[in-house]
Amino acid sequence: MKKHLNTLLLGLVLVASIFLRFYKLAEIPGGVYVDEAAIGYNALSLAETGKDEFGKNYPIFFRSLGTYSSPLYVYFVSIILRFRELDIFSVRILSAASGVIATIFVYLITRELRLFKSNPLQVLVSLIFTTFPWTVFTSRGIHEPMFAFSLLLAGAWLWLLSEKRSLYAIPSLVLFAVSTYAYQAERLIVWLLVPILFWYTGRRRTKYFAAGIILFLLIQLPQILISFTPGFSKRASGLFYLETIKEQAEKISFLPSFLTLPLSFAREFGGRFLTYLSPRSLFFEGDPDLQRSLPELASGYSWMVIPYLMGCYLLFTNWRKKNVKLITFLALISITPAALTGDPFASLRALTFSFPLAVVITLGTEKIRDHTPRLLFSFLFLGVVVGSGLYLWRSYFILLPNERAKAWGYGFEELAERIAKDQGTHYLIDQTRIKPAYIELAFYWKYPPKELQKRWGQETLKNYYTDTKFDSYYKFANVETRSVIWEEDIYREQIIVGDKFTISEEQAKEHFLTKVFEIKDKLDEEVIFLGYQTDPVKKCEFTRFANERCKKN
């Protein structure tokens, strides 16, 4: 009976997980974020030509947008595109499915670790994990982190099974190695996690572990081969706060630099590290980046602070237990990659922490349950479930699609449609503040990858991992993307597209520009794009054909 109850509860958790991740997946978040467009378009390019947007055959890291992002998600989406056309659902489905799969592995790992006395508490860990705003959000539009995390969890579960049967060590280590190609944070986490898992299960000298290690290293080879190129380290070095450390070190009086630099690093790293454990960041404020967070909701719900603090205390009191040590170490290494980047709270990079966090909260909840009358606890539990559901619905399904639409690239679809219908007109899209427009347009148009690849020559392919500079200049179809050159562009017959700061009313008047369209956000409040038609004839007449371009025209 108890076994059936557990299965039933887990089934309900999975139903909730699937609903939260798949309901209106293509519509919320609204718009297609530039990274999503890059993933989708490069996947299309791979599916159709076997090359990325630059014409590189099966790259180890994708140079797109100059980010050198992890490749595995793109490769999997390219497989999906063999069965579906390119649209936002095709790009997001893998991440959503990863969120559900991760929930299953959270349950399995919790069961293997034997952290809780009763089985329903193992299901509670999964419930908390799957309903965290953090995990719901990252399953529905951020892609790589949840995919990588699900691979990591699968590897961890298989490792725990290898205690009984060593053969499982091979797929475990393979999955760990593969996860490092799925997201940047895993590149560090895996190398920290594997030794800890070796410690947890005790030293193993079987042939299976040896084979697993060999496979692990072989899979890492492509990364190792390009590890000395700027492309490999660009992401990490760009995010690390070296300049801040130097600036802060200079402020310290009376001490030499061999002391001030480590002190400065200790403070910067320590402060960032602690932020990921802070109740304020976890349960109230969350990620400050508008595109990486929910309005008015943090990574967890505010009521969780009580069982969280209780759970932290219990980690201390039960420190001697090996499984508790493992959870603690996992929590600490999960935070490390994020703490090495400059963001105050990078929810994506610390996603792995959501599992130990769910465990800690459940530990605290168990203690509270043990000291609370049953009826009162049931009433409170129901209250927090309903309240959490209400606030998640409010933040994710009401506020996010409206308030954060612009942050998610809303407006590009309409712009793409407009430009596509007006093939005879040349459009110049200002790139001073707007995210790279070329990839958004290429995504919506499903622009033939072979055509876009033509922009890049052999030199680019040769220096694919060494020349890391990103150039947002593109000219394809009837579009050009770059910053406006005032001395030239107003003398050409075209439509200049920008945000509300690109062209002021005075400039429009001065250069005889006519506003021809306006694209606003979902609330019809904020302007996202403005399109101005040039009038070179009037401008030339006004300037008495002084400009060279007037003579040319």
Binding site: Q248, K251, I252, S253, F254, L255, L259, T260, L263, S264, A266, R267, E268, G270, G271, R272, L274, T275, L277, S278, P279, R280, S281, F283, F284, E285, P288, E296, S302, V305, Y313, F316, T317, P344, F345, L390, R394, I398, L399, N402, E403, L523, E525
Partner: protein, 239 residues
């Protein structure tokens, strides 16, 4: 090393918070200092009733001082921009769910609950006490280093050690009072949430105690502490 008050002395000397308290408000500084000593004595002697009463009286005075030195923030008063955002948000709800939207966004109770939560969570942030709220500094206040970050592991260990003793747990509950008070009146106080100072200082001192038995380790810690204190002081002095 048999000097039970050495850790507390080190904790009191090597933190900028107590010096700021003395500098800005002598009464607050003195009360905080006295309360810290009383709390330390209370934990050392196992919370006898008379000592507890004296501590609670002193603590109550601290809470009153907190209320009188804090610039009150209204829980439901809205600026023009905040009102605009609320009006916008209510419109985001589908027409048949407008009553829910109004309850969640515009009701004074909802606004008050949100602000109380914000005030409480600001004070629950360990970065506030050990890293001057870095890297999530609040824009409306000049953050300052309260305790050197090197004290953090000792604070955690000391706190855990003190909480293990059942008689101490009631005393810990008392420190929820200034948290709740700050929740309702806000955190606009240049001195910080000083009624929590005794808890932080005594826990840190308790965490430092085991180290005093190892001369070399303790000396190493003192050197490190001095360096971190110089660092904190330098940041404080730099605009």
């Amino acid at each position: 090393m048999k000097a039970p008050y050495v850790p507390l002395l080190i904790t009191l000397v090597f933190n900028l918070w107590v010096w700021r308290l003395f500098g800005e408000n002598l009464l607050v500084g003195c009360m905080v200092f006295v309360n810290t000593l009383m709390l330390n004595f209370l934990f050392l002697k196992g919370t006898p009733l008379r000592n507890l009463v004296w501590f609670l009286v002193g603590f109550l005075i601290l809470v009153v001082l907190q209320v009188t030195t804090t610039e009150r923030v209204f829980l439901t008063k809205l600026s023009a921009d905040e009102q605009r955002i609320i009006d916008l948000r209510v419109r985001e709800y589908p027409i048949y769910k407008l009553p829910i939207g109004y309850w969640l966004e515009a009701r004074p109770e909802s606004i008050a609950v949100l602000r109380i939560q914000r005030n409480i969570f600001e004070n629950l942030d360990p970065n506030l006490y050990f890293f001057a709220n870095h890297p999530r500094q609040r824009v409306w206040v000049k953050e300052f280093e309260k305790f050197p970050y090197i004290f953090l592991p000792f604070f955690l260990y000391g706190l855990y050690f003190l909480m293990r003793v059942p008689q101490n747990r009631g005393v810990f509950l008392v420190f929820l009072v200034p948290l709740l008070v700050a929740g309702f009146i806000g955190n606009k106080n240049a001195l910080g949430l000083f009624p929590l100072f005794p808890l932080l200082a005594v826990s840190t001192a308790r965490g430092l105690e085991p180290l005093t038995k190892h001369k070399r380790l303790f000396t190493g810690l003192l050197i490190l502490l001095l360096l971190v204190f110089i660092q904190a002081y330098s940041y404080e002095k730099t605009p």
